[in-house]
Every structure is written in structure tokens, then in C-alpha cells.
């Protein structure tokens, strides 16, 4: 683990969270050798607060590519100073790493992985909307742990990259082995989800990554349904467009499979709701034995949020509230697919 680690935190008006974010980095059991906050078109006190808490502060100039642009701005300056074996930690400015994150991630880099992502949980806030997200993230972390950290996407919330991997991506963009990055040096400008694009890029280059269960961090939950819809619309549309961009290959097969399953899920929901609506005409024939399936789903809902405590487990076992949440997410997915197919323009 004897290599240099540079933390890059792209930030756009993050004065409320940047102090805690930098403090969490400085409280790591393996403290990064440099903490650089990249102020991207900030109009608040992010830079001053970050500096006061010991971070180096850089500011982008005329960047129109948001997070990816800020990261490329910093990587262009940082990568020439680093050795191939060194590491770059890319994390959101509103994410707080748990104290062991960097040490755990660095150890996994030593195991030969090109990148090590984390498992995130959502902080309090957002009422029922936030509670649903916390359940969702808890299940995601549980699934990741059960899959031994073999995730589909290394998270933009916080990931430690080997410098050689970032250089390999930059080289592959430059010589056309990866899809057009829209001018991006390492992070693509031609995507809505730069972490997903980066994941696919690493895969296509034969580089491996993992998200160990002990590499944990917290992130902000979306506080309103409107914000959540906007976030998920971007995620879902970005994931779909990235798959289109990378095409069908063994590296994208699982991603396409998940898209297919989730689309079938939407169709099944529509069909189910349709039969309910039409039941006065079609007839309503409840089957008692079918209730057994509801019991199975109720148990599954409760078991998979065990980490959230028994009260949440009981609420989840009711099934119906989380089904409404799923309907909400499915409606966003339909909108995302519609937007991707018809290439509608959205402002993010």
C-alpha cells in the first residue's frame, strides 16, 4: 500500500457539505496525500470553506461539462505528477467516507483491481421519500456484499482508481478503442452518467473493479420526489444511452439483460394494473393460494432491509408502500426510455 493517493472532489456550490466531506477524508485511517477540491463555477463559499479545512482548492474556468469537465480539468494536471502505481480517489463533494474507506480500497488495489468503488448509504432526511431511498440503498449494499462486490457500476459517489487505469482509458479514448467521449480526456462528455461510462470503459479494456462491503460512505438522499425523479431520470437514461454507445458485447450483455428485465417488469405492472381496471368487465377471481406469493414478497422485503432495524422491516413487510415507490421508479424509467429513444432534450 506504499503508493500516493490523491483525492479529487468536483464541487458546484457545496458550501453546506464540503467541510464535512473534507473532514471525513482527513479522518481516514489512511489519509490521502493530497485533497483537491475542484470548484466548478461556484458562486458560494465552497472554496473558502474547503481551504479552511485543509484542502487544496482549484477552480475550473469556462467549464460547461459539469462534473466530468471538472474531473478532466484536474486529471490533466494531476496525472503527469503521478506514477502508474499511484491512485486517484474520485468522490462526490456531498459524500462522507467512513474512516476505513481509503485503507480498504487501497488494499484491494493491491490485490490487482484497477478500481475500487464503495457501498453507499443515504443519510437522514427527505421524509418518506428519503426513507424509501435508504431502504433501496440498504438492499443494494446487501446485494453487492452477497455478490462479493462484483457490481455492475462503480459508483461516482466514491471510487479509488489506479493511475495506470485512468491512463489506459485516456489512451483508449485517444486512439478510438472506446466510443467517442465528446472531447473528454478521461471522463466522457458524451454521457449523462460518467461513472457508468467509466465502468464500461474499464470493462472494455479488460480492467477489473470491485466494491468491497467494508468500503462504505454516506451520501445525500434526494429530499423531494421531484429531485428524485430528476436524479433517476438521468441515471436510467444515462445507463441506457451508455449501452447504446458501447453496443452489444460480452461486456454489456448483463447491462442489456437488466434493461430487458426491468422493461418486462414495467410491462407486467401495466398488464396487472390493466387487469385490475378492467376487472368489472373481465371478472375478478381472487385465488387464495396466490396470496402465498404475497407472503413470500413480504418476507423478502423485510429480510433484505434487516440492516435498517426491525421497525423498518415491519413497514417493508407491508409491501404496498414500497410497491408505490416501485411504481414511481417505473414511471421514471418509462420516461427515460422514451427520452432516449426519441432523443428528447432535458436539462440536468
Amino acid at each position: 500500500m506504499d503508493f500516493k493517493i490523491v483525492a479529487l472532489l468536483p464541487a458546484h456550490n457545496e458550501e453546506e457539505s464540503i467541510a464535512a466531506t473534507v473532514d471525513a477524508l482527513r479522518a481516514q485511517t489512511r489519509i490521502p496525500d493530497a485533497i483537491i477540491v475542484i470548484c466548478d463555477n461556484c458562486t458560494d463559499a465552497t472554496a473558502e470553506i474547503a481551504s479552511d479545512h485543509g484542502a487544496t482548492v482549484w477552480a475550473t474556468s469556462g467549464n460547461t461539462h459539469k462534473k466530468a469537465g471538472a474531473l478532466n480539468y484536474a486529471l490533466e494536471r494531476v496525472l503527469p505528477q503521478l506514477e502508474d502505481d499511484d491512485a486517484v480517489l474520485v468522490q462526490d463533494a456531498d459524500s462522507f467516507l467512513d474512516p476505513g474507506f481509503v485503507a480498504v480500497a487501497a488494499a484491494r488495489l493491491d490485490d490487482g483491481y484497477a478500481a475500487v468503488g464503495g457501498n453507499f448509504y443515504a443519510r437522514p432526511g427527505g421524509g418518506i421519500c428519503g426513507a424509501f431511498q435508504r431502504n433501496e440503498y440498504a438492499r443494494y449494499a446487501r446485494d453487492n456484499a452477497r455478490k462479493h462486490g462484483r457490481v455492475l457500476c462503480i459508483t461516482g459517489v466514491g471510487t479509488l482508481f489506479r493511475v495506470s487505469a485512468l491512463r489506459a482509458v485516456a489512451a483508449a479514448i485517444a486512439d478510438g478503442r472506446l466510443p467517442d467521449s465528446g472531447g473528454g480526456l478521461v471522463y466522457s462528455y458524451a454521457t449523462l452518467t460518467e461513472d457508468n461510462w467509466m465502468t464500461l470503459a474499464l470493462k472494455h479494456l479488460g480492467l477489473t473493479f470491485v466494491s468491497p462491503k467494508d468500503a462504505t460512505m454516506s451520501t445525500e438522499a434526494m429530499l423531494t420526489w421531484k429531485d428524485l425523479a430528476r436524479q433517476r431520470l438521468r441515471w436510467k437514461r444515462g445507463a441506457f444511452e451508455d449501452l447504446l454507445s458501447f453496443g452489444l458485447s460480452r461486456h454489456t450483455l448483463k447491462g442489456w439483460g437488466l434493461q430487458l428485465i426491468s422493461t418486462l417488469g414495467v410491462i407486467a405492472t401495466l398488464a396487472y394494473l390493466g387487469t385490475l381496471v378492467l376487472s368489472p368487465w373481465l371478472g375478478f377471481h381472487p385465488r387464495l393460494w396466490f396470496l402465498a406469493f404475497t407472503v413470500i414478497y413480504a418476507i423478502e422485503r423485510a429480510v433484505t432491509v434487516r440492516s435498517r432495524g426491525w421497525k423498518i422491516q415491519l413497514l417493508s413487510a407491508a409491501v404496498f408502500p414500497e410497491w408505490i415507490y416501485d411504481l414511481f421508479l417505473q414511471s421514471v424509467q418509462v420516461r427515460a426510455l422514451w427520452g432516449a429513444v426519441w432523443r428528447t432534450s432535458e436539462s440536468w
Binding site: 456484499a145 407486467a268 387487469t275 396466490f290
Partner: protein, 50 residues
């Protein structure tokens, strides 16, 4: 093969092919069964290592 759905007596029921509705119900049941299978799998304890 057009006929009324058992228990249905309205216009829509009369207009829909029985086979189409049967296929729809079958697909829904199949989806439920597959989903239940996944649900059971997710409940099985597994050693969490990574």
C-alpha cells in the same frame, strides 16, 4: 374463438378474445412465479464476503 370471459358481461369482455386474456394472465402468473423465485433466493442466508 371470441367469447365472453367467465364472469364478464360487458362490451369489453365480449370484444376481447379469450385466448388473448388467457395469455396475458399466464404471462402475469409466470412473472409472479419468477419474481417469487428471485425473492426466495434473496432471502437465503449467504456469507457476506468481498
Amino acid at each position: 374463438m371470441y367469447g365472453k370471459i367467465a364472469g364478464g358481461s360487458g362490451l369489453i369482455g365480449a370484444a376481447l378474445p379469450v385466448t388473448g386474456i388467457d395469455i396475458l394472465y399466464s404471462l402475469l402468473i409466470a412473472f409472479t412465479l419468477i419474481g417469487a423465485g428471485f425473492a426466495v433466493t434473496r432471502c437465503i442466508p449467504k456469507r457476506h464476503t468481498s
